[in-house]
Subunit: 357 residues, 2 copies
């Protein structure tokens, strides 16, 4: 019912000026002890809390960081958010999230909506459509307006900003090498179309690992799935394609899949074809999510440490924000001070479970 109380109201009620109230509440020694006490007591009684919006306007910073991701119903992205929220909260920031839904336009709209004062900086992962279009002007535009960006996972060289990535290539190498060590002779790859950079890197890792192990890469041991927008029956299509793939390549005894879903689906299909896992076929996925942990058999995966990525991203962003702030306060604007952009690599780790020997 009753709106939150303001300085002005307190001032009026106690018959002092707004400035006096403000100073008293911040324990300024300009104000006598008597009035300070009186004012603080009154403020406490009415549960006064300064209005954040007014503070934001005055300080020209919102203590809020914007997250912009392609999708939220996704284990990896939600762990990243959790990581961001954790350090943001600890360091006194709020997070506001926008979803691009893998759409270029929604990405732009969301950015413009948030860039007009609502936040101090962005943490984002690029949408698929944007990667396809290769149009990154909106990122550079907001950076030029003085708003720092940290990109994670799906990053791109065309934008100059801090980045946090997982070592996709090396993770893939590790996975494939593990399969090689486990005596797999014919290792297949199930991957996506190449325009999402992570898919490309993981594919590259697969190829490099094979070569390093003296095995030959064979193009028909690679299954490329078109992960476009056929949301509904996508699962069935996937199963059919994998089944066909396995049937035409009966020698396959090891599978590396670039994500969790492909991996568990591969296991499912394999089982339907009468293959025992891990005896007849070993499987390793990428991204350690719920599926991997609870599948039967549970899935050996390359863990991306999403939460850690989120935490690092948030630290990177807030560090930069606070550096800027310090810089502004300095009388001699020392240009040398500007921190270079950092590309932080989060190491992957293989989590061994039942799908490998």
């Amino acid at each position: 019912m009753k709106r939150k109380i303001t300085l002005k109201q307190i001032a009026k009620e106690l018959d002092v000026s707004v400035s006096t109230v403000s100073k008293a509440l911040s324990n300024s020694k300009e104000i006598s002890e008597d009035t300070t006490q009186k004012i603080q007591a009154f403020a406490k009684l009415y549960n006064y809390k300064p209005n954040n919006i007014a503070l934001s306007l005055k300080n020209r910073k919102t203590k809020t960081i914007g997250i912009l991701i392609p999708e939220i119903v996704h284990h990896f992205f939600s762990t990243v958010i959790r990581g961001i929220e954790r350090v943001a909260n600890r360091r006194g920031y709020n997070v506001i999230v926008g979803l691009s839904n893998e759409s270029f336009t929604k990405e732009i709209i969301n950015m413009e909506m948030l860039a007009n004062g609502s936040i101090d900086g962005f943490i984002l992962s690029i949408s698929k459509e944007t990667l396809l279009k290769q149009d990154y002007h909106h990122f550079n535009a907001t950076i030029n307006q003085g708003m720092p960006i940290v990109m994670f996972d799906r990053v791109v060289n065309e934008v100059d900003c801090d980045k946090v990535i997982v070592d996709d290539l090396n993770g893939a190498v590790k996975a494939v090498k593990k399969l090689v060590e486990n005596d797999c002779k014919n290792i297949a790859l199930i991957t996506t179309m190449d325009y999402v950079s992570v898919g490309r890197l993981r594919t590259q890792g697969y190829l490099e690992a094979l070569q390093a192990s003296g095995m030959e890469a064979n193009s028909n041991m690679i299954l490329k799935i078109d992960d476009s927008l056929d949301v509904e029956n996508h699962l069935e299509v996937l199963e059919t394609e994998i089944a066909h793939f396995f049937k035409s390549n009966p020698s396959i005894d090891g599978v590396f899949a670039v994500n969790e879903l492909y991996a568990v689906t591969a296991m499912k299909v394999a089982r339907k074809l009468g293959l025992k896992i891990p005896d007849d076929m070993q499987v390793i996925g990428f991204t350690d999510g719920v599926l991997s942990k609870h599948a039967t058999p549970s899935l050996t995966t390359v863990s991306q440490h999403g939460q850690k990525m989120g935490e690092q991203s948030a630290n990177l962003l807030i560090d930069r924000l606070e550096a800027e702030e310090a810089e502004t306060e300095q009388y001699f604007t020392n240009n040398e001070k500007k921190r270079d952009f950092i590309k932080m690599v989060i190491e992957t780790e293989i989590i061994e479970r039942e799908s490998t020997k």
Copy 2:
């Protein structure tokens, strides 16, 4: 580099007043066509967008809604967020999310942080610890400060506000009846401790359905899991408990579990014990998430329609916000206008998959 341009700067540059610029940009007919054109062209050139914070301060509303949930790495909660974000975005709102992490204190801190002007209203689901403590003063406090709240899923009678819940009781009834229809004679329940209301209701539904089917509820056919904070080895404990449960009740031929995890774990354990699903034992879970869809065999579940819950919650909240606004603008404050609090029930639906006959 260059900060975003403001009205004042445009005004200075074009040698007119701030008011003129403001009016010109909103196509006021107070301003001549000439100057309007000139100003609009200039504004477009410099990509002027009004500052959201300033607008928020002036309008005393932020067009932002706060989401406060216990956990984000959770399929159900993330679908709810997706739903909220969808309608929020469509209706011109942003969302800012806070995580209570199931903690009472973090819930309060988050609420206080957001309630000081950052948002226009809350959509939240109560943390477990709060439910345990049964201390709801912070909810009522923020409501009394004029900030509307919509609660979803985990709601509570002690707080007067709009609520969106799933029909837990009826969903459980449906599930158990389905098992009965499928010729299950000994139906077990795997549930949680009772303090989370949804667990209690689902348990109650199980009991009612049994009674309605003329079957007797047997207390040792019910397994209560203590879902406290033993995050790490929780899974093993769970498997052990379920295994023990199944062994001491060999007659079980049907299982209703109050969540997805318990259901798939039950299937896993059952298989290890040599039971075929669904032939020897049929299983139904609650909450339709990734696990249900991709488990082998895939799991029959009661779908909660999380996204729909989110959408309805958002609509409820925004409706109320805009009703308030209209009310404020009215000269005669018509008290009768106040909308009663709504409790909206989302119907559940059984999604049949391979774990039932």
